[in-house]
Symmetry: C2
């Protein structure tokens, strides 16, 4: 029940979610009294509330949240996944804490060393999955290979694709480009049996050059946030131009439907829900500032991952890969 807004967003999002998916149930974990304030009665028993006494703050150090808050909503929700009482956990809370608690409670899938954060980005051709986006600041070539396997398994399951294309984020298209880790990772990916398409440059992400783009968490995080920052700046400038004077405001009124369609096309809320891949359980991280539409989409994403058996698919694919090269 975290995120920047809390139950005022997450509860209506859960209501929206169960109205869209017939076969789902939601357990809202958190401060029960607060949650009930936002919960209407007519939900056909498909939404229940589980009380948790503690809350992980958005800026709380992950290690502290892990050690000291055994009854936080986050911990209790992840425990439900561990115990098989829930198929997935969705949170808009503290990313670091969600990662630390998930990893501690759920453990890693066999053959996967590190979890990775995988998100969807829009492209000229549709969308792409990029991972890791910040869980790992230093990665070995073997970790990047594992990210490729997990990303391809995820896209394979959710989008019903046999062999989604996988690329590695680099600073040139030629094989000789990049640092040693990326070059070695490209070799491993090439030998892996995945549908590896080679190097993807920063702009290649948005050109849709691969359905899965692999990178270390430092580079991925910077690329993602730089993109967010640029998009925000452009939106602000565009708004300023249309608000400049009476005439431009009039033009804005006329152009509104077109601008709205444009915004819909690139609405990041449609892509809300980053998956914490590599764990023995489905955990989806919503953007902290998510609104109802956005958080409902993250719930939908988690449901799809459970329904299409993403974890099973990763496990099988990793087993195929055995023996994996020794991890650094």
């Amino acid at each position: 029940m975290g995120g920047d807004h809390g139950p005022v967003v997450t509860v209506p999002a859960a209501l929206d979610f169960v109205s869209k998916y017939e076969d789902v149930r939601v357990i809202l974990v958190g401060l029960e009294a607060e949650i009930r304030t936002f919960l209407s009665n007519d939900v056909n028993g498909r939404i229940s509330v589980l009380h948790a006494t503690e809350v992980v703050a958005m800026d709380e150090p992950p290690a502290l949240a892990l050690r000291s808050k055994k009854d936080s909503s986050m911990r209790v929700a992840i425990n439900l996944v561990k115990q098989g009482e829930a198929d997935a956990c969705v949170s808009a809370g503290n990313t670091g804490a969600l990662m630390a608690i998930s990893r501690f409670v759920l453990k890693m899938l066999p053959g996967i060393d590190r979890p990775a954060i995988c998100a969807i980005l829009p492209t000229a051709k549709g969308h792409t999955h990029v991972l890791d986006l910040g869980a790992n600041v230093d990665c070995s070539p073997e970790h990047l290979l594992q990210f490729g396997i997990m990303g391809a398994s995820l896209v394979g399951a959710i989008e019903h694709k046999d062999r989604p294309t996988v690329g590695i984020l680099n600073i040139g298209e030629e094989d000789i480009k990049g640092n040693d880790v990326v070059k070695r990772a490209a070799e491993l990916l090439r030998e892996s049996g995945l549908n590896f398409v080679g190097n993807v440059e920063g702009d290649g992400i948005y050109k849709g050059e691969a359905e899965v783009v692999v990178c270390d968490g430092f580079v991925g995080n910077v690329a993602l946030k730089a993109s967010e920052g640029l998009a925000q700046m452009l939106a602000t400038f565009l708004r300023q131009e249309f608000k400049r004077n009476l005439l431009t405001k009039f033009v804005a009124l006329i152009a509104m439907p077109v601008l709205k369609n444009f915004r819909k096309h690139v609405d990041h809320r449609r892509y809300n829900g980053a998956t914490l891949l590599g764990l023995k359980g489905i955990v989806v991280k919503s953007h902290g500032s998510a609104d109802v539409f956005s958080f409902s989409n993250a719930l939908g994403r988690a449901a799809e991952e459970a329904r299409t058996g993403v974890l099973q698919r990763i496990t099988e694919r990793v087993a195929l890969q055995q023996p994996l090269p020794e991890s650094a």
Copy 2:
């Protein structure tokens, strides 16, 4: 005389440049006959032509260009800087070759281990300088410190600022975030006497959180190209929406002046001209696809750097810093 377009762009850009700056002269280096085709006669003797028999191809391996093309336009132009016959060299050609030849011919400034590519990006507050954007895929903390010193010296000289703010690109605002290299570099920058403002996240670049943003060439290149790719994608989507049908095309006509103002505000051509910093000479790299307006701006940038004594300023600032920590 390189770039994607050659003299058809660079020669008119030179004419435009000398018409804007009263005290400059341009030596056009390349295939003389071809250059003269685009050169009108009335340039008051401020534009001359120096014949060079060879051309470095855009996709030529830098090492090959360096070894085998002693009479390429690039090599001859850089030699002019070395010999003191030109104050700066501007090229729209092969970046890797320009870097390799510049480094070989001009050598590094004392106290600087590696050259860095520094470019200007627009921000919500104006603009910022980011380096390195691709010259170095692996950097030590000491290299990043040197980039900070060079960037601050450049901005200090060109923008007449005493102590421009310097940030380091990272994946969180807290000191504990990031990898070991970035954390150590932040310590060095904090002790350096520069106006260091700490970590800047990807979106912080465009929020204008620092006037100089330091990063390694891999991360910087990915962030820059991802930004370019996103901007292109958004422009394409916006164009598509306005071209959807007769009505939206009519709306586009009405909205055109507003959209043009918007485009002017974020026109990357205004920011054309990345500086190869750290060399004993001014070398500016124009975007390969630059048009006349854009290439003229790169020439203007080189002239400003020469006029404001950027090299002198870097040299003095590095000397202040001595003894620099041992390079890794």
